[in-house]
């Protein structure tokens, strides 16, 4: 059963009462909420996701609700709790969906300790994957959305999960988070882009989410072997600049983007070293997709 197959009223009541269990990267997460607006957005952006059976083992339960009765009505707020822990301060009610997404990122990045967790977007073609690692604001998610709209399979727009045992990258298919100007950029790229409601004035500016393609959702259990690592940087008006990165530089740069490098200690270092051994690494500065896409195609052909 997929989420899209539920009637709107049934979706709302199941989220409010027993919660809905969905696959979320390496975990099964049960989402519970009585917030009607959130249920609506969840139904739209997670439409193609399968609903897991009631006898599936639930790794985490994530609940979103008003912090108290007063804040349900007066300057309404939303709070997220995961198994009794509250990782963030409450946010305005309008930001309930981004909060769910941040909460799910937190669940994965702080518990998937059998993986090296890197802050990066990952897309796949023919079983090999392209990893895009960059600081926030470099255009990583926008580029990820653009590649996905050109037929690449989405693994993740936010977290690369490198399996410590196999070195494969494991998908965490979820909605792609878009910020500020990139919301309209992505909308204009393709009529197929399904972008949800815009939440203005979050801590990261305006935020909207793009629904992951149904094909990517269906293939969410297929990992991919890394082939190409790109450090992209969007700079308005820049000329295309593409330079290969040495392995030592790539490794040094990736340690900055790894969430659990310190927790994994030696194992994390080995996984990272193994990763940079497997890929070609490039640094690319660009101002438009017209410049960038042929360059990525060229590098991809070399790497695979």
């Amino acid at each position: 059963l997929r989420i899209a197959e539920l009637q709107r009223s049934e979706l709302r009541s199941r989220l409010a009462k027993t919660g809905l269990s969905i696959p979320c990267g390496p975990f099964c997460v049960r989402v519970r909420t009585g917030l009607a607006g959130l249920a609506e957005e969840f139904g739209r952006l997670y439409a193609d996701f399968p609903i897991l059976d009631a006898d599936t083992y639930v790794d985490f339960e994530v609940r979103l609700r008003a912090p108290n009765l007063l804040r349900r009505f007066v300057r309404a707020q939303v709070t997220l709790d995961c198994d009794g822990r509250i990782p963030f301060k409450p946010l305005p009610m309008a930001q309930a969906f981004p909060m769910l997404e941040w909460g799910l990122n937190w669940v994965i990045s702080s518990h998937a300790q059998d993986h090296l967790v890197i802050h990066a977007a990952v897309v796949e073609r023919e079983g090999r994957c392209l990893i895009l690692a960059a600081d926030p604001g470099s255009g990583k998610s926008t580029l990820c959305a653009a590649l996905v709209l050109r037929g690449w399979r989405l693994l993740s727009d936010e977290l690369a999960l490198v399996d410590l045992a196999s070195g494969l990258v494991r998908p965490i298919v979820r909605p792609i988070s878009l910020k500020n100007a990139s919301i309209d950029v992505v909308r204009s790229l393709s009529p197929e882009a399904c972008v949800g409601k815009v939440c203005p004035d979050t801590a990261k500016g305006d935020i909207a989410h793009m629904r992951p393609p149904a094909d990517s959702v269906r293939a969410m259990s297929q990992p991919a072997r890394p082939a190409l690592l790109v450090f992209p940087k969007y700079t308005a008006g820049a000329a295309l600049l593409s330079a290969p990165q040495g392995r030592a530089h790539a490794l040094g740069e990736l340690t900055r983007h790894a969430f659990n490098f310190a927790v994994l200690a030696g194992e994390g270092f080995d996984a990272l070293a193994n990763l940079v051994e497997q890929v070609r690494a490039h640094r690319i500065e660009y101002a438009s997709f017209d410049q960038l896409m042929p360059e990525i195609d060229r590098l991809w052909a070399q790497a695979t």
Binding site: T18, C28, A54, D55, Y57, V58, D59, E61, D83, G84, R85, H111, Q113, D114, A262, V263, L264, A265, E267
Partner: protein
Amino acid sequence: MNTAVRAHLLVDTLREPERARAYGIRDWETLVWQSRAAELMAQLHAALDGADALGAAPPAARRHLELAGSVAAKHALAVKCELREIQEALEPLGIPVLLLKGAAYCALGHPASRGRLFNDIDLLVPRQALPEAEKRLLWAGWLPAHTNAYDDRYYREWMHEIPPMEHKHRATVLDVHHTILPPTSGIRPDPRQFFDAALPLTGEFSFFSVLGHTDMVIHSACHLFFGEFHKGLRDLHDLHRLLSDFAADSKFWSALTDRAAHLGLSLPVLDALTQCQRLYRTAVPVETLQALRQVQTSPFPRALREWMFEHALRPVHGSAFGPSTGLAHRMVFVRSHWLRMPLPLLAYHLSHKALFAD
């Protein structure tokens, strides 16, 4: 869905891990959640592994438990690296440096350290050496962790430690103490006696010492029963492990009651022993409890205290909460501040926090 309150699932399983062989998938789910909330998952993993009960776990539950075990093992290695750094910074001072709580159990290789995670390394140094020690730690990279003027004053004037110091690269946190209890609690034992009774470590960490056995138990008991019980079940599990080990010495129990009476801390020790016995079935001699009870009793009704401890010592997870658990938690919060500060100071502190805190 099973919505029954499972207040004792975790402690029952820690005590008798064989039970887990009969658990269904929902029991395992709840067990993993509760152990994570109580910060006892790695200890649970060790207990289940020891009883050969891990095989009965669904693969997903087993994965969480095994990850907790391996993270804890790496954590112990990381702590030992930090201890070497601290030694390098403080050794030239020629002062005694005591490790407290988690760091002590870890350096000792004590069973209480098995699977125990902690965020801070707690040190005890002589008060007169504090400014020099602080300076040397600062040079070694531990900077005062984001404090404002009020917090700084709170620590330096009223507490038994200086503001926490965080390492600029590794983000490890040191709590440097000059005594084991906040002076504002009204109980001010001369810290010299803790240094006099301290036990030097042998082997790799012989630079450090730890509290004597009775002081170690008393400190752990005070920390728990003067506090807010955030990690109550975990701290009580430490105590259970310490007591079970120290009890091998036939003179331990009488030494404990004497020391507690001498320090004026019989009540927290009595509470600790009573709760250990209730939850983990620690073998405590009846005479010990009687002796402690004769020295000090609480002015509050016994039933009220028992009710409060029963709720406060549950895992902080919805599945373990009854309808009145929230109320008990609020009472514990008020109680911990009451015990730590005289009333006018408490009123000042809480109103400052209410008015000016973020």
